[in-house]
């Protein structure tokens, strides 16, 4: 019998699960969240938005296809802890390089397996995301519980800085370069600049600390547009990037934001944000694009959302803001757009979505949003010429 070291998982409200050690031995704390995707664990693990979170996988079998060198979404695994029911004992896929268990151990990620992940998920659904601890060293749940309650909360913490790149770097356009975009890395995923580059965008990825000057300095003649990535933490705790975005919007710079970039866009437009009970984390969420009436199946990973009126438009200093996308499961705001006042032609100026059109992992239904961004950039470029 392959003896697995015992491990325990204790939630902040005291609920305890016993299981077996998985990945690195030790003790870890974070915010417990569940992900309902049936594929893409490698992308999930390396998604910076999961920084400081302990991810519970609802899919029972995890690790079947091992770990390869093409699918990571960033330079490392970010999850603070990993909870699965039945980890694979062998990796089987032609692209696989090593087993998930080894990868977790190598990167020092503490995990637990063999727990009733469905019971745990239902608990989080009913009580909401909460702090959790996993330990392979502690045997007394009470002792672990005490330490869980000392760990920091997710609400109110600013984390982008912890995941962002230290140095600016450039992702060249595939083929002929059409546009130059400044992309603020708040926890950006590899696939995002890739999707832009595919469309002829030269992407200048900047650290989260970038200033307006940094942004305006990219490219030979400044950027054609600004992009904000996804990222961890509470949007309400972020100010610098909100002000930066407002300045950019003030100068009429086209903007596209994803996830955290949607929340900051919301704040820049004067909307509030709030924490969802247990968030959206999965790759099967139905979202309606209200501009076309079509439903797209989308990849989500967000615990916070924008608090904006679903109907009608809101006048802001930068134009008319409206909700462009909603999640059909629970009517959560999934996208915002900023247009000129109807009187002035009502042209699109800036937009953002709460979910992940770059889709890694996840369906490609929302890929059109990158085209929409290109159209926006082209539109703007045309103006500039006209203006000059």
């Amino acid at each position: 019998m392959p003896v697995h070291a015992p491990a325990i998982l204790v939630l902040e409200d005291g609920r305890t699960f016993h299981g077996e050690a998985f990945g690195a031995p030790g003790e870890t704390f974070g915010e417990a969240v569940f992900n309902t995707g049936m594929t893409g664990y490698q992308e999930t693990l390396t998604d910076p938005s999961y920084h400081r979170q302990v991810v519970v996988m609802t899919a029972p079998h995890v690790g079947n296809t091992g770990v390869n060198d093409e699918d990571p979404e960033s330079r490392r695994i970010w999850v603070a802890g990993y909870v699965v029911r039945d980890p694979a004992r062998v990796a089987s896929n032609w692209r696989s390089r090593r087993s998930l268990d080894d990868e977790l151990r190598e990167q020092g990620v503490v995990g637990i397996s063999g727990v009733d992940t469905r019971a745990l998920t239902r608990h989080l659904r009913e009580r909401g995301a909460m702090r959790v601890g996993i330990s392979t060293t502690e045997t007394d749940p009470a002792a672990l519980l005490a330490r869980v309650r000392e760990a920091d909360q997710m609400a109110g913490t600013e984390l982008a800085g912890e995941v962002s790149t230290a140095e600016a770097y450039v992702v060249p356009a595939h083929g002929e370069k059409r546009f130059t975009v400044a992309a603020l890395d708040l926890g950006i995923k590899t696939m995002t600049p890739h999707r832009m580059a595919e469309r002829g965008i030269e992407v200048h990825v900047l650290p989260a600390t970038a200033t307006l000057d940094d942004v305006l300095a990219v490219g030979e003649s400044g950027p054609d547009g600004l992009f904000y990535s996804n990222g961890p933490g509470d949007p309400a705790a972020t100010t610098a990037q909100v002000e930066l975005l407002q300045a950019a919007l003030g100068r009429g710079l086209p903007y596209f934001g994803i996830c955290f970039g949607n929340q900051l866009f919301g704040r820049a437009l004067g909307f509030g944000t709030y924490k969802l009970t247990y968030g959206h984390r999965g790759i099967n969420q139905p979202v309606m694009d209200r501009t076309t009436g079509k439903v797209e199946v989308t990849a989500h990973n967000h615990g916070f959302a924008v608090d904006a009126p679903l109907e009608g438009t809101t006048t802001t200093p930068y134009g008319e803001a409206a909700v462009s996308h909603v999640c059909l499961n629970d009517d959560v705001v999934e996208g915002l757009e900023l247009r000129d006042p109807a009187g002035e032609g009502g042209r699109l100026r800036a937009f953002s979505v709460q979910y992940h059109p770059e889709a890694a992992a996840g369906p490609h239904d929302a890929g059109y949003l990158f085209d929409r961004f290109c159209d926006l950039l082209a539109d703007h470029a045309a103006d500039q010429k006209g203006g000059a």
Partner: protein
């Protein structure tokens, strides 16, 4: 887009009789569709020739036509009903092909009927392999290299390009009919030849073989607004080369990265759009090369398929129901997902993709034992007759549950045999060709030391699955080695799906002891919920499966529950008919209108059925039907609230076999008590019941050895009928004519079920067989129906055609039958349904057997007499009296199936055989001789005012229409006649009538002479055993197979003279079955056929709905 307002009536075409590749999954989808369309206020017109389906119950459609699904008859229905639209994508290939034919014939246009779901063009594009190929390539996808061939010559040219092995696949067929893998020229000739015949467009695809690649399926759903979702991904454990219907399949896909999966998803969406399936479900199959991930698209089915049913049960996303809604205009976001409820009570929309937090495994069930000589190798041509599905929290648990759900004693893994007799090399060789039970051999190979790599090389089974099998072996080894069964070890074994029986076998103790220990240690399953969303939202629908996890989700309840045990996987002898009765019980006992108000709890493991639709009962447990699994469900429900009892009588032999053990474990069995069941099933006991009632049974005895059998045969006299006791479908039953045959049988037969002795019965020759279904409440007998078989006794009741009301029996005989039935019901102590078979020979009414349960004929009788027998029986089982049911209107106020009005329409049941799907290793057709062992997979019903027309319909629905004197090409139709001496006199008149109508008569020597003497010209044809003549004169069989004969009339030559009694007749009949032409085997049948043909000549064979028949009966 809301519902279309321009459609007020829709015609739905069902899939007809159950055949291999097209089973009751289409009753499930059709029933859902009808329900939905009716709820939407549309007038639903249904055509389906299969009486055993729920969908053909009058309440599911406004006009239900149990008529042949042929263009001629369907046109008559269209002419009568004038529907606005036709929905043909839910009735399998049969409905799709019927729609195509109606369109070609210009019928749809003539009556202005719009085809909804998929247009003719879309169906063409999807089903025609060539145009489909172009579409896939246009999308940048790949298909296997192939060439369309219309002749064998084409095929050979194609082979020069691809080399052997090569795959042959016809267009417009389902279940791989006519397809196969050819390894050399001989095989190619044989397979391609058959394929060209099988394809309605005499077109086959010769395709490069990609055997051994991983095989996947995606279930796709699209609406009018072009919203597309993937409902489910399915991975085949058996790689390419084994038909998905014969493969062990797993949902969701287990060995794909997200990149690979999304690639398949993108292709699927592109394909459904390009093909232009406007709305509804379709199924797309892929092959993935394990070495480099290269993807090849295999095919698409532009309709709801077998896999759709599986996907619906696997995910909780009701594909057929949603397909019906989008077909009438709704968009996915307008349709509710009725399983989920979000905070605030509303449910989430159907425009999402289900996500699973469990694993689903489907395993096929085969019936090779019934077709001696049939090649059991699995290939591209589907051979399984049924399937079982299981749900677990991991693969090992789901797989082991699925294997024990098959109810065949060799299916579950077994570590009993000695390690030493495992020969690795031999095992690796054995598993390199796929066959039923291969997985067990893989387990043995692993235990014999084969590495995962070696297994993969031999089978192409993905290493991840191989490791899971290895894991099961490891756990078995732990259980073997452990000093005692600790809670930890038990829980671990259970989490990997081990049954108490398996553990007991390993530990050398009985399953009961293991269960005792387990319960003492508090190791019991919990029940999780299938909720489409991995618990992201609360689930409103109690659709449960067991797992050895921490938290159970069974909700407490106040109302008393009735637990109904289903019938498990379809098999020959136990199929959809039993599911029909279970579903009716659920309706009759439930809380719907007219229900008795119980909470109904269904337990079953067959994904194809209506009973496992979460809409059917208040609670559904998708569990194996073994003692262990049922006891745990009962326990869980007892924890939840009061349990009135368990229904074991409606699911066929499966639950019946559990009744006694359940009772022994303190479970209340409602209806006929186990002791009574024993009285009827155990021959000795039953003999005493008959003796007391003064009823004759064929002389018989029980033998445990050849000598004792021979002694009995001596006493009762040959021919004798031998069989093992406790069997369904006449398993292992044979008619033997002499000692040698008897010895041969005993040697084979006793192996079948050693627990039970062999029964030896006097075989009643030349007897009319009668089937009776009745309900008994302890006081009153309700005679449901008396069916007169058209074939004589000796052909299994499930395989012979029959008529209701009986066509030759008089009131006196029916009275005798009623009295005998009541005496047996009373003597046995039946509470509920009983089925009895009698043989009426030389005016003696012999009792052949009594089955104290719902029978295969219950749905047929219920439909023919417009009386809900199963519903009434269920109520009687829970204590209501027949008198009360008469008062409440569930049963007719007075009279019953034995006292039908004179103008009662005649219903004819005809059985449908699967012979055309089985071949011997050397490619010959398997022997199609019919006998006391049941072989049919399905049945059809012909209903009309008189026997002739009803018979004509039954033939049209089962085989193809009775012939008219003139063939379409203007030539005269040929009738072949060969009669037993005793029948020659009665044949003259009807044959003369046929001749006068212009038929050309062929006959065997003796028959021809008699005819000639009576002024009927007949050409003499050689008998089968005479062989082809010196001048190459063909034999009867050769003529029939050559398509030279349009009708066969042959009454079996009963006399033992001539060495080969019966055989020649059987050869002729089976040739007819192979040639798909009607074959009459009795004088009554001949008369019937003549009446039918005359009705057809007069052109007055009309169509009428069940509702209309019922209305006429009442007025």
């Amino acid at each position: 887009m809301p519902k279309r307002t321009d459609i007020s009536s829709v015609m739905v075409i069902g899939s007809g009789p159950i055949i291999i590749g097209q089973a009751c999954e289409f009753d499930y989808s059709g029933t859902q569709a009808c329900r939905v369309l009716k709820q939407e206020g549309l007038r639903v017109v249904l055509v389906n020739s299969n009486p055993a389906t729920i969908m053909t119950d009058p309440e599911f459609a406004d006009a239900t036509y149990v008529e042949p699904i042929t263009p001629e008859y369907v046109e008559k229905v269209i002419a009568a009903e004038r529907p606005d639209a036709l929905l043909a994508t839910l009735g399998g290939q049969t409905a799709l092909n019927a729609a195509m034919a109606l369109d070609k014939a210009g019928v749809l246009e003539k009556y202005g009927v719009e085809l909804i779901g998929a247009s003719i063009e879309a169906i063409e594009r999807g089903e025609n392999r060539q145009s489909f190929k172009q579409i896939v390539e246009k999308l940048g996808g790949e298909v296997a290299g192939s060439a369309i061939c219309h002749s064998l010559e084409d095929c050979f040219t194609a082979v020069e390009r691809f080399g052997y092995p090569i795959v042959v696949r016809p267009s417009f067929t389902m279940g791989g009919t006519g397809s196969g893998i050819a390894y050399d020229e001989a095989e190619l000739r044989q397979i391609a030849g058959a394929g060209l015949d099988a394809s309605p467009t005499t077109e086959v695809l010769i395709e490069e073989s990609i055997i051994g690649w991983k095989e996947y399926e995606l279930e796709v759903m699209r609406d009018t607004a072009d919203n597309v979702v993937i409902v489910c991904s399915i991975e085949n454990l058996d790689p390419m080369g084994v038909h998905t219907g014969d493969s062990i399949t797993v949902a969701p896909a287990m060995t794909l990265t997200d990149r690979e999966y999304q690639h398949l998803r993108d292709l699927a969406i592109g394909i459904i759009r390009e093909v232009g399936v406007d709305t509804g479900g379709c199924n797309i199959q892929y092959a993935v090369n394990p070495a480099d991930g290269r993807v090849v698209v295999i095919e698409m089915n532009p309709r709801v398929s077998r896999s759709s049913a599986l996907a619906s049960k696997a995910t909780g996303f009701p594909i057929a129901k949603i397909a019906a809604k989008v077909a009438i205009g709704y968009t996915l976001d307008e349709i509710e997902n009725d399983i989920t409820t979000r905070p605030g009570g509303q449910s989430t929309p159907a425009s999402f993709e289900p996500t699973l937090d469990y694993v689903v495994v489907k395993v096929p069930r085969f019936a090779f034992e019934k077709f001696p000589g049939a090649d059991p190798t699995l290939t591209t041509h589907m051979k399984s007759v049924g399937e079982a599905m299981a749900i677990g929290r991991n693969f090992t648990e789901a797989l082991q549950k699925a294997l024990r759900s098959l109810e065949s004693k060799d299916a579950p893994f077994d570590w009993h045999q000695e390690w030493v007799d495992l020969d690795k090399a031999a095992l690796l060789e054995e598993i390199s060709t796929p066959h039923d039970g291969r997985l067990k051999k893989v387990m043995d190979a692993l235990r014999a030391g084969a590495t995962a790599e070696e297994i993969f090389q031999a089978t192409g089974i993905d290493p991840w699955f191989v490791d899971q099998l290895e894991l099961i072996n490891e756990v078995a080894a732990e259980v073997t080695a452990a000093p005692e069964l600790t809670p930890g070890l038990l829980r671990r074994a259970k989490r990997h799906g081990f049954s108490d029986a398996q553990l007991g076998k390993i530990r050398g103790m009985s399953a009961d002891v293991v269960r005792g220990v387990r319960h003492a240690l508090g190791v019991r399953p919990v029940y999780k919920t299938v909720d489409t969303c991995a618990a992201e939202f609360a689930a409103a629908t109690p659709y449960h499966y067991s797992s050895y996890d921490e938290e159970t989700e069974v909700q407490p309840r106040e109302k008393p529950a009735v637990i109904i045990l289903g019938s498990g996987p379809n098999r020959i002898g136990q199929g959809i008919e039993f599911d029909y009765s279970c579903v009716h019980a659920s309706l009759a006992l439930g809380q719907g209108e007219g229900g008795a108000g119980y909470e109904t709890v269904m337990v079953n493991c067959n994904p194809e059925t209506v009973s496992t639709d979460y809409d059917t009962s208040d609670r559904l447990y998708f569990e194996p039907l073994t003692l262990e699994d049922v006891l745990e469900v009962v326990h869980a429900e007892e924890q939840a609230g009061p349990v009135a009892g368990v229904v074991c009588q409606l699911g066929g032999q499966t639950p019946l076999g559990l009744a006694q053990a359940l009772k022994d474990n303190g479970v209340t069995i409602v209806g006929t008590p186990p002791e009574a069941i024993h009285l009827a099933e155990e021959r000795g006991a039953f003999g005493r019941v008959l003796a007391e009632a003064g009823l004759p049974a064929p002389k018989h005895g029980m033998a445990t050895s050849y000598d004792s059998a021979q002694r009995i045969a001596g006493e009762v006299g040959y021919p004798v009928l031998v069989r093992p006791s406790y069997v369904l479908g006449g398993r292992g039953m044979e008619i033997v004519y002499d000692d040698d045959a008897l010895r041969g049988y005993i040697e084979r037969a006793t192996a079948i079920s050693p627990e039970h002795p062999v029964l030896v019965d006097r075989f009643i020759d030349d007897a009319v067989e009668i089937d009776v279904d009745a309900i008994y409440d302890g006081e009153e007998l309700f005679l449901g129906g008396v069916m007169e078989h058209i074939e004589e006794a000796g052909i299994h009741s499930g395989d012979s055609s029959c008529a209701l009301p009986p066509i030759t029996l008089g009131a006196a005989e029916i009275l005798r039958i009623r009295e005998a039935t009541e005496a047996i019901a009373r003597g046995v102590g039946v509470r509920g349904l009983i089925n009895i078979q009698f043989a009426l020979g030389s005016d003696v009414l012999y009792v052949l057997e009594a089955n104290p349960r719902a029978s295969r004929t219950v749905p047929f009788v219920s439909k023919a007499t417009a009386t809900p027998l199963a519903k009434a029986a269920a109520r009687v089982m829970l204590g209501e009296t027949i008198a009360a049911l008469r008062a409440s209107g569930l049963l007719p106020a007075e009279g019953d199936g034995g006292t039908l009005p004179a103008d009662q329409p005649i219903a004819v049941k005809e059985a449908v055989m699967p012979f055309n799907r089985f071949r011997t290793r050397d490619g010959r057709q398997v022997d199609t001789v019919l006998g006391p062992e049941m072989k049919s997979t399905g049945e059809v019903m012909g209903l009309d005012a008189d026997f002739g027309r009803a018979f004509a319909k039954s033939q049209a629905a089962a085989y193809g229409s009775l012939p008219l004197p003139q063939r379409p090409d203007g030539t005269r139709s040929r009738v072949f006649v060969s009669m037993a001496n005793r029948d020659k006199r009665h044949m003259v008149f009807p044959i003369k009538v046929l001749a006068d109508h212009g038929f050309e008569i062929l006959a065997t020597q003796g028959t021809a002479e008699v005819l000639r003497r009576n002024g009927v010209e007949a050409t003499v044809v050689r008998k089968h055993f005479e062989g082809t003549g010196p001048g190459g004169e063909p034999t009867t069989v050769e003529l029939i197979l050559g398509g030279e004969v349009q009708l066969v009339v042959n009454t079996p030559h009963g006399s033992a003279s001539g060495g080969s009694p019966r055989i020649d007749g059987y050869e002729i009949r089976t040739a007819a079955v192979r040639g798909n032409i009607p074959c009459i085997t009795t004088v009554q049948g001949l008369g019937a056929a003549v009446q039918g043909i005359e009705a057809m000549i007069r052109g007055d064979v009309g169509v009428r709905s069940l509702q209309d028949w019922a209305r006429r009966a009442r007025t």
